[in-house]
Point group: C2
Chain length 268, copies 2
């Protein structure tokens, strides 16, 4: 708990062991073992404070002053707070330019009835999306387009990777990411649930009927949707390039393709 005294002291020196612990959370195995993750920055930490349980804060006096009310209300629940200078913050930060605060939050383990969810709303499924930044960007755009659930194959980047967390820009407060056996999940869906996927030999996205429910599957950055998952795709889509037939890039970045597909679902 932060005391009044702390708020006026210029600096808490963070112990070497604590620095080592925080830095260890860059690795998935340490995040998993401790069931926590790191988020940084004024806006992001602010967004997550009300959605995830915060267990540790290293923050400048400015940040602590600005959040005094929140701290008073939550300080009792085993939250540990260090008031730090910008210099101290740099020692523990994963960012090039740390901004006021680094927080450690507890990971969520929410379960969901997938079959029920896909009957009534549009969801995303990510098949081996490897790049942490791409995953974070997809979570952010899913939030924009009101997609509440993303099903990731176990081989996808970790939502709790610091790069992913930062790229979500707070959207992970509203979008639930579930790690699942994707072929198993897709094979268990009812027959009439549409499973969309983008393929270079698919049908023009703008000419297809799109339901506002079901699953949109997006694939790996280099290899696209795997054969194993592809066989469950019922609607093969293609994002037309322009002008048709012109020499162009082989494909779009996976987050870009996801955005274009989601925007078209929501436009209609």
């Amino acid at each position: 708990m932060v005391s009044e005294r702390h708020l006026h002291q210029p600096q808490t020196v963070i112990s070497k062991n604590k620095i080592k612990y925080i830095r260890s959370l860059e690795m998935k195995k340490h995040r998993k073992a401790n069931g926590v993750f790191v988020a940084e920055g004024y806006k992001l930490v602010g967004d997550l404070l009300n959605h995830y349980e915060c267990v540790y804060l290293a923050a400048t006096s400015d940040w602590l002053s600005a959040h005094a009310t929140w701290l008073k209300a939550h300080g009792e629940k085993g939250l540990e707070v260090d008031e730090v200078t910008d210099e101290e913050l740099r020692k523990i930060s994963f960012q090039e330019t740390p901004q006021q605060v680094l927080a450690i939050f507890r990971q969520l383990n929410e379960s969901v009835d997938i079959s029920a969810v896909v009957k009534s709303q549009l969801c995303l499924a990510l098949d081996d999306v490897q790049n942490p930044g791409n995953l974070g960007t997809i979570v952010r755009l899913a939030d924009w387009f009101g997609i509440e659930h993303i099903f990731c194959s176990h081989s996808c980047a970790d939502i709790y990777n610091p790069k992913t967390v930062q790229a979500t820009m707070g959207a992970m407060a509203r979008v639930q990411v579930h790690y699942v056996d994707l072929p198993e999940v897709l094979s268990g869906l009812e027959q009439n649930i549409p499973v969309y996927g983008t393929f270079l030999d698919g049908e023009n996205l703008y000419h297809k009927e799109l339901a506002n429910r079901g699953v949109v599957v997006m694939g790996n950055e280099g290899k696209g949707v795997s054969k194993e998952v592809e066989k469950f795709v019922t609607e093969r889509l293609y994002i037309p390039n322009y002008p048709a037939g012109r020499e162009t890039s082989e494909s779009l970045n996976v987050a870009i393709a996801t955005a274009i597909v989601c925007a078209e679902f929501r436009r209609r």
Copy 2:
């Protein structure tokens, strides 16, 4: 020039000075002073070979064998080639997993009559887009949507940054990126040229008339379009979130927003 002998020798040891030179090209000032940039990987280098002048290649024997015809045709023009092992390649590479080849290309300095171009085709203008990956992703999607010219403010990331080059996935072979004084360029356009921009208080993108020419301005990752540039925007667009009014992310990633806007221009 690569000799037959080289093709059968297992390794050229790259001198320390050369390693130092290559690594120095991670910095803009060194790239600029030498008028060159680095690209890596089988696909990317292959795409750029026919569009940029290659001055140096460090490649595995596999790569050199696969490109023997090209090397024979281009080897005379002052091209320097080192045959390297994967281990040597790792020493000079900017990538986590180097793939077969690292090349140094000469930067382009193509000029363009902007006023003429925007009269007949849709162009992008980037106002202080800072993230190298975002810039590269935007070049790649511009290519997909047949946009041939991107005008960047001088404060934008450098197209020749290795991260940007890699993120273009070869699209920089077809899309021209020009660094300009953006307010000056926009102020010089004819009155009837539409200048589009996305703003949180803009009009629904899907309800606006969109011409297939003019300029789409996209702004900085955190601050959006600057005041200085904003005053030249004639059409204020907004990408609607879904469902309208729901609590959501404050904004979309700049590359994502660019993609959605470009896709909508091209869909029509």
